[in-house]
């Protein structure tokens, strides 16, 4: 699904401060990953709201409960996961879909879990904040910053087995003020664990802006408190890809953890139903959508054109449609099994 056609000579390298031009195949793949992720979130968005009425009842519909969507943050997941294989671990947050998709979690099983079906990743027990996929070592947690510590253990196990597998641990900028963040970075740095710590700074912790939660302007500066490299990049998928490459290589080489903060964008509300009355310049948010911007860049560089874009759109829509059809046609769990799986 990639093209060798265009040369990338026209890419303004300096702009992204890269020595060698990024492989066109990689660039298109980054776009495809983001497109698939966005298509999934848009589908969930409409499915979620389809049957919440009259009015809005959070407990109603085929997809009930809180729903934290990742639109706008696709560059973070695409840029990092491009350096991972299914043998590497990822621990994500309450806003996990983009990382799950970019890391290759089965779209059908993931959708089925979000719909609370027996065919889902967690047989409908977990839900959208609790996606566990042993095949890709993917997991997430709804408790702020508490997804970091388990990643240390996965990295510890990988290291003890003498592999070069790594763990990528994700939180938001709000979570970087939680105790677990600090403990995890110190311990990982102390034991040189193969972990990459990612902070998705989307400027908001629900309604609280970063300036009202964090005493400094960049969490990358907190890396020095642990003697590890820290870097902050903007919401540009290639900038993320480059920074992630450095951190992943360092972890695989046994040189220990890094901290990378991406200044990203929460395109939609904190969760669905959030009117965002607290958010200034709400109307301008969509202008910063990273996907159209990257699409334009690849068009300029001759890697995408109308036909190619349409083809990718077809493919991702088909994949998402298939996953949602699978979910909706799957059986709901048998209520009499509600107490099973507490113990192995």
């Amino acid at each position: 699904m990639t093209t060798e056609a265009a040369s990338s000579a026209s890419i303004p390298q300096q702009a992204r401060g890269r020595a060698a031009p990024l492989d066109p195949a990689v660039r298109v793949k980054l776009y495809e990953t983001m497109a698939l992720s966005r298509a999934f979130e848009e589908a969930i968005l409409s499915e979620y709201h389809a049957d919440k009425g009259p009015g809005f009842d959070i407990g109603k519909g085929l997809i009930p409960g809180e729903m934290h969507l990742s639109a706008g943050q696709e560059p973070v997941a695409a840029g990092f996961c491009a350096h991972l294989t299914a043998d590497d671990a990822v621990t994500a947050t309450h806003r996990p879909h983009h990382f799950a998709i970019a890391h290759g979690v089965d779209l059908r099983k993931m959708a089925a879990e979000i719909y609370g079906r027996e065919t889902g990743l967690g047989r409908g027990r977990g839900g959208h904040m609790h996606l566990f996929d042993p095949e890709t070592h993917f997991s997430c947690s709804g408790i702020i910053a508490e997804g970091y510590p388990p990643a240390l253990g996965q990295a510890f196990a990988f290291m003890r087995r003498g592999t070069d597998r790594i763990a990528v641990a994700v939180t938001g900028e709000g979570a970087a003020n939680q105790g677990g963040f600090h403990e995890s970075l110190n311990l990982a740095a102390l034991w040189k664990l193969p972990v990459v710590f990612v902070v998705e700074d989307n400027d908001w912790g629900i309604s609280v802006p970063r300036t009202a939660s964090t005493s400094i302007s960049s969490n990358a500066d907190r890396a020095a408190a642990y003697g590890i490299p820290g870097e902050r990049v903007e919401n540009d998928v290639e900038a993320v890809y480059d920074a992630a490459g450095r951190a992943v290589a360092r972890a695989r080489a046994g040189q220990g953890p890094s901290l990378i903060e991406v200044h990203t964008l929460r395109l939609w509300g904190h969760f669905e139903g959030d009117a965002q009355g607290y958010r200034p310049e709400l109307s301008e948010v969509s202008e910063h959508d990273p996907i159209p911007r990257y699409e334009q860049l690849l068009r300029n560089d001759g890697l995408l054109d109308d036909e190619k874009v349409a083809e990718i759109k077809r493919l991702v829509d088909t994949a998402v449609g298939d996953a949602i059809d699978f979910a909706k046609s799957s059986p709901v769990p048998d209520p009499t099994s509600a107490t099973s799986h507490v113990f192995a």
Binding site: D57, G65, R125
Partner: protein
């Protein structure tokens, strides 16, 4: 035990509006009261616990915090030690795990460790409960856990009037009070409501004494002891069964610490039958303590086996049908009452 009758004029308010009214009145009365937590400012509290308060009292007294529960609960404790009266919100009871030390080893123990020389007049509010598919980390009640640990009072209102009266009492109490409100009682526009989530609330200053249960419905056949949202499920079932001649007495505990043991004994002494309904986990929690309250006194009061309707020691499942299979809903409550009254 009291049967609350409204002391003066009332209006119909949602539970969240009644809770906010109490906070607002106390903040006007006492400048040392302030409210602190995540998204309590512009957002007004995720579950409507502070709606409108920022406009009224400003950011100096309605304070958004970082996601640092250990730090800001401890901040509340220290401010209380110095004579302020903080109200501190932990968004969900489920998050107690990141900050329980400040709650149970500090806020709750400082008064005792100081031999009574230091007071900690602080209110810790938390939203609890499930029923809307929020999963295993956002649907727990956990009031049994707080009630087990000494040094803090634990109140659990079920309706607008009690929400106001208990909040006023909690703010004025010289002890730490954990104020747990079930999301389902708040009368939120975006969540299924029981019809009693909007009800009569007394005007002006209104207090409900902490430690007194309320007979929500008088009855002679069986005693149903419960709390918070489950009170409403219990009343619904009681009303449904009344025509069949099953006369259920519903006791709303309203507070777990102190526990109104007299109220429990008085009712069970009358009916000889006991059903306990609790949305917290079944074992090692509220239901066992209610039972032991009776057997400490006289097991002979119990003419039939006790029926305990609670979450059967399983994390709260996400899928709606699974969740409703473990929650103490109408069907299970009705079955328990029928069993208790069948002989």
């Amino acid at each position: 035990m009291t049967i609350t009758e409204a002391p003066h004029a009332t209006r119909r308010l949602s539970t969240s509006m009644a809770m906010v009214e109490a906070i607002s009145q106390e903040m006007e009365r006492d400048p040392s009261v302030f409210y602190m937590g995540e998204d309590v400012g512009k957002y007004g509290g995720i579950f409507g616990s502070t709606t409108g308060l920022l406009d009224k009292f400003g950011p100096e007294r309605i304070i958004d915090t970082p996601i640092s529960e250990t730090a800001f609960i401890g901040l509340g404790t220290g401010a209380a030690v110095e004579g302020m009266r903080p109200i501190v919100e932990v968004m969900f009871t489920d998050f107690m795990g990141v900050c329980l030390d400040q709650i149970y080893n500090h806020m709750a123990k400082i008064h005792f460790e100081s031999g009574g020389n230091v007071k900690v007049p602080m209110v810790l509010t938390m939203a609890a409960g499930g029923g809307y598919s929020d999963g295993a980390q956002h649907s727990q009640c956990l009031w049994g856990t707080f009630a087990h640990l000494p040094g803090m009072k634990v109140v659990v209102p079920s309706n607008p009037a009690d929400a106001k009266g208990l909040m006023t009492s909690a703010i004025r109490d010289d002890n730490p009070v954990v104020y747990i409100f079930h999301k389902g009682i708040m009368g939120l526009a975006w969540m299924a409501k029981n019809r009693r989530a909007i009800d009569e609330v007394p005007d002006g200053e209104y207090t409900v004494p902490i430690g007194e249960a309320r007979v929500a419905r008088e009855g002679g056949d069986v005693t149903l002891v419960t709390l918070s949202l489950s009170v409403h499920h219990a009343l619904d079932v009681a009303e449904k069964l009344a025509p069949e001649g099953i006369d259920v007495e519903v006791l709303d505990l309203r507070s777990l610490v102190p526990l109104d043991r007299e109220a429990i004994l008085a009712s069970v002494g009358k009916t000889g039958r006991l059903v306990v309904v609790d949305e917290d986990y079944l074992s090692f929690g509220v239901s066992g303590e209610v039972v032991a309250t009776v057997t400490d006194q006289d097991p002979g009061m119990l003419r039939v086996p006790v029926q305990r309707v609670a979450v059967p020691d399983v994390p709260i499942p996400y899928a709606h049908d699974l969740e409703y299979a473990v929650l103490p809903r109408h069907d299970r409550i009705e079955q328990a009452i029928r069993t208790a009254t069948s002989r």
